[in-house]
Symmetry: C2
Subunit: 206 residues, 2 copies
């Protein structure tokens, strides 16, 4: 398969969100212009993004909403559930596990790990906190799909090394640090403080 | 001033986080190599990033930790508090307002707005939910610095237009949609579902 640019994958996710909203409203077809406005792009880019995956839509008629939504779900790998673990049972992790976006899309939280002996064994958002020193062994025995890293910055690289050694191939990182992973592991980082500081920088330097 | 690349600003934020950790450990100086590893970059890039803002560090001695941390706080605009409002009193917003990263850096949440009559006037995380139809007028009278948009996708552009009309110059958007703002407004988007779907895409297409 052609290597698809990440920017295209990110827009597919936005198009899918838009299509689901149209579907809820009972809209049967949408134009590439309508999808473009939701994806922050042009109708030519919408057509180009979709052309990577085959032929969609009819000239002058637009795209059939349920069919395109279904096809994008398929392309984005959303036809199956994913087993997710959290590493780091802190405040941010608590906020995230209660975010319904996870469950809605089939990202099912299986376990949470921490290294704090005061937390290990206790109840945490409906899960029992497990000992991170057993994580690699447990995940080798009972594999998961996606790990969410919500540790302090200084612990994150060690955790990611453990996850990679246990065969985890996808990581979502919230620790405020850049992490190195083997080439066959996909990693995405979200850093709220960094986003806020980009804004404070912008306000200071206008 | 030279226009600073956004990638540099983002790394400054990572360097600052690293410097604060070194400071807590009582480390007096750090090398550009040590900062590079925390910023996911090279020591040459660290020196280049810092050179935008003047001369730091001494050849062979490295950077003085408290001095560089203080200077980066200054550059990133973190010497003053920021007044923040939330728009959208939903689950994700609840998760975010309880994230201590906001308060720690002086991002102080002043108010929350919603359009749901069942929510307006009720208590929500220590704030009273205000009516979004009064937002533009209230923010003109009592300006804020940063608005966090946590509405459904279809409402977000209208909210952002209201914020811009009320003079808000910095927006952090969590709605899963690309938004258009006037050129003098800074906007950053965070989309957790999109990050997860980039990972499910990667897992499906390995």
């Amino acid at each position: 398969m052609t290597r698809i640019p990440e920017s295209t994958v990110r827009r597919l996710s936005l198009y899918l969100r838009a299509l689901e909203a149209f579907e809820e409203q009972g809209t049967g077809t949408v134009s590439s212009e309508e999808l473009a406005s939701r994806g922050g792009t042009t109708s030519a880019q919408v057509r180009k993004d979709l052309s990577f995956f085959g032929s969609f839509g009819k000239r002058g008629l637009g795209y059939a909403v349920p069919e395109l939504a279904s096809r994008l779900s398929d392309i984005l790998g959303l036809r199956r559930p994913y087993r997710v673990v959290f590493v780091g049972a802190g405040k941010m992790a608590s906020a995230l596990v209660n975010y319904r976006g996870f469950g809605q899309r089939g990202f099912n939280i299986q376990a949470v790990y921490d290294r704090d002996p005061r937390k290990i064994g206790t109840q945490w958002n409906g899960l029992v906190v497990r000992d991170v020193s057993h994580m690699a062994r447990e995940l080798k025995a009972d594999p998961i799909d996606i790990a969410v890293v919500v540790t302090p910055a200084e612990a994150a690289q060690g955790v990611v090394d453990l996850l990679a050694s246990a065969g985890v191939k996808a990581i979502l990182n919230f620790a405020p640090v850049q992490l190195t992973v083997p080439p066959d592991v996909a990693i995405k980082s979200v850093n709220l403080t960094l986003e806020l500081e980009t804004l404070s920088y912008a306000l200071r330097n206008r």
